[in-house]
Symmetry: C2
Subunit: 385 residues, 2 copies
């Protein structure tokens, strides 16, 4: 298996991109990732997206975007694993380069949620749940996660305030991110007193809906230094699944897909959670952030509250969590979120994160979830120099 | 790069599967592919699908199907390249095994088109076209292909009858296929006198709409004989793209994505078109069949009519084309079609095709298109023993 490097990254600000079409938006991120990069050409494009069929009436966006980027007749296809599409696309691209089939592969994600009128966006997002056992009975993502959050508070005697404090930390980080959708600080009261969405989840427990695109360019590690003096090595890549409906799980307070994917990625990278300097984790809701941090081994199960108040997750703490602001503040353009995470970890390891920079970040992890924990993609990267 | 084998295949009959849900339908094909196969387990599931989000309100079907098959927590995701989804999923699965990341991978496709009410299915299929430059202006797949067919007849002085004769050959083959949606013979008059869909295309120039699922199981070639004494080697796999909108092409009578993908696959397999004994090609419309055969190098450009009347494409001819009946007669469950083709070629090379069997078939090719030629996936397989 060939070792694989990331040569470059690009992204757009997450916001309501009313004036950019799906292809134009991805083009912006792709152009950024290709800036100053003198490679022979791209052999393949593997792109994550969830909602374009529903909200932009567009499928086959691999070919659409390859055409827009001017890289025809490169191999191009879409990968979909709901909100985990970006992470899954990265895994496919990694295999494509590691196998020797392709040398230069762009992988990224694009999502344009603002184009949905009426309840179309909410319905489209709901299709990440089990249509026959959850969606058709009226469950939405937020209601499922509200059940989980209530259960978590009951079982672990966790105060509602700890979830608010996690949102506060995310906004503190995101306020420094020029690409964040909600780049401002909030207080504990902002979260607790914001509108109810589904008890106990309030508006500020939720990631916002936005549009965005992000991309990275991969090549074989042995070729990387020919094209860049600041690249990143891919140490571990893994994907895992769990039941798509929440009720079928033996323990709804454990993200088993995250536990399995993380352990596979750690094993592949020959690392343990303590080795991770910086992590971009999947916090669709504040409760999802808590379960993700526990599943990744950054704190013990049920001990999220203590670790958070001990400063474990702050920039410069044991592991700097979501210096981008995470889904909560950077935003959550669903099929592109995993691509943002990998682009952001790359940016950190290249030392280009400016005000978000985690000092001396050498090893980073991205954790991207599809559905309410149905799929997880874990990616571990290392600064090459 | 590790060499890759196909250990087994499974498929369902293509029809209106009113009583099978999306997951049950794929389960049927998967179960067939696992019958009598004693492997340690499946490491990953990579599944092609186009329309489940639109017609079954379901995304993240990788996790959905992994759960249904009882293979959690295996890595699982969906690949989409419109009608080329099955071929693209195979390419991703091939890379996954060739890289060494996974040993046992199931790849297949599933599509349930019958669940679409009103015009939903037609709209959903239309999303394989360029939404902004074709679909929004009222173009449908059949109208775009009607323009191409008219142009072909004008430029090459091809008679309308040759397209009808191709449909007749496909139905002659499909009549022997227990899995075909339209398993009956027709005459030239049946085609020419059937209802107009878009002049000059009539009903019997078109592939029908149906539901179906197909799957194959891959493993490293070196491990294959441990699990089966009748397996197939993957010799060539390639994907290529063209403009998604038809009008932007320099020559609408050339399927450039097919030409490029086929040439790459031939080169990888160290073969030429003459070496192919049996081919499953993508004949959404009879004109698509003609352009595919020319693009694959099975006859010269513009010479489809002569080659067809010379018997080149008949079973036992220079290349036995679509012994399954092709999209025209076997049926076209879009995101699963490429998976059917690969399963059918595998069946032929294993000598298990019964009445459809091409005598002494050693080498086979599958050609799967997404959109009106926007993407093509070409796969070349060889009988191992």
């Amino acid at each position: 298996m060939r070792r694989v490097a990331i040569l470059s990254y690009g992204m757009t600000k997450v916001e309501k991109h009313w004036k950019r079409s799906l292809r134009a938006l991805f083009g912006d991120a792709a152009k950024n990732s290709l800036k100053d990069l003198d490679i022979p050409g791209l052999d393949a494009l593997i792109v994550g997206n969830m909602c374009a069929s529903d909200l932009s009436d567009q499928n086959n966006i691999g070919a659409l975007l390859a055409d827009h980027l001017g890289i025809l007749p490169a191999t191009a296809y879409r990968v979909e694993a709901a909100c985990g599409s970006g992470g899954a696309a990265f895994l496919a691209a990694y295999a494509a380069v590691a196998s020797g089939m392709y040398d230069f592969v762009m992988t990224g994600g694009v999502e344009k949620l603002s184009d949905g009128v009426g309840g179309h966006t909410t319905l489209s997002l709901g299709k990440a749940a089990d249509a026959e056992y959850e969606l058709f009975f009226g469950s939405s993502f937020v209601s499922l996660n509200a059940l989980i959050m209530n259960r978590y508070m009951h079982v672990y005697h966790a105060p509602r305030e700890c979830f608010a404090d996690f949102a506060v930390l995310m906004h503190k980080n995101g306020a420094k991110n020029p690409f964040a959708q909600l780049p401002f600080e909030i207080t504990r009261d902002t979260v607790i007193n914001s509108d109810w969405i589904a008890d106990p989840i309030t508006l500020y427990d939720c990631a916002p809906v936005g549009d965005g695109a992000a991309a990275v360019v991969l090549c074989p590690l042995e070729a990387a230094q020919k094209y860049s003096d600041n690249y990143v090595e891919v140490l571990g890549v893994a994907g895992a699944t769990d039941t798509i409906d929440v009720a079928s799980r033996s323990d709804i307070l454990s993200l088993n897909s995250t536990v399995v994917a993380a352990n596979k990625a750690y094993k592949m990278a020959k690392l343990i959670p303590r080795d991770i300097d910086v992590a971009e984790i999947h916090d669709t809701f504040t409760i999802t952030g808590a379960l993700s941090l526990e599943g990744l081994g950054f704190c013990e199960k049920g001990k999220f509250n203590k670790a958070l108040s001990d400063g474990v997750f702050e920039t410069g703490g044991m592991v700097s969590v979501n210096p981008s602001g995470g889904l909560k503040s950077r935003g959550h353009p669903v099929g592109a979120t995993g691509s943002y995470q990998i682009a952001e970890i790359t940016m950190q390891l290249m030392g280009k994160a400016d005000k978000m920079q985690v000092p001396d970040a050498k090893i980073g992890l991205a954790q991207n979830i599809g559905g309410s924990g149905a799929s997880t993609y874990a990616t571990i990267l290392r600064r090459a120099k």
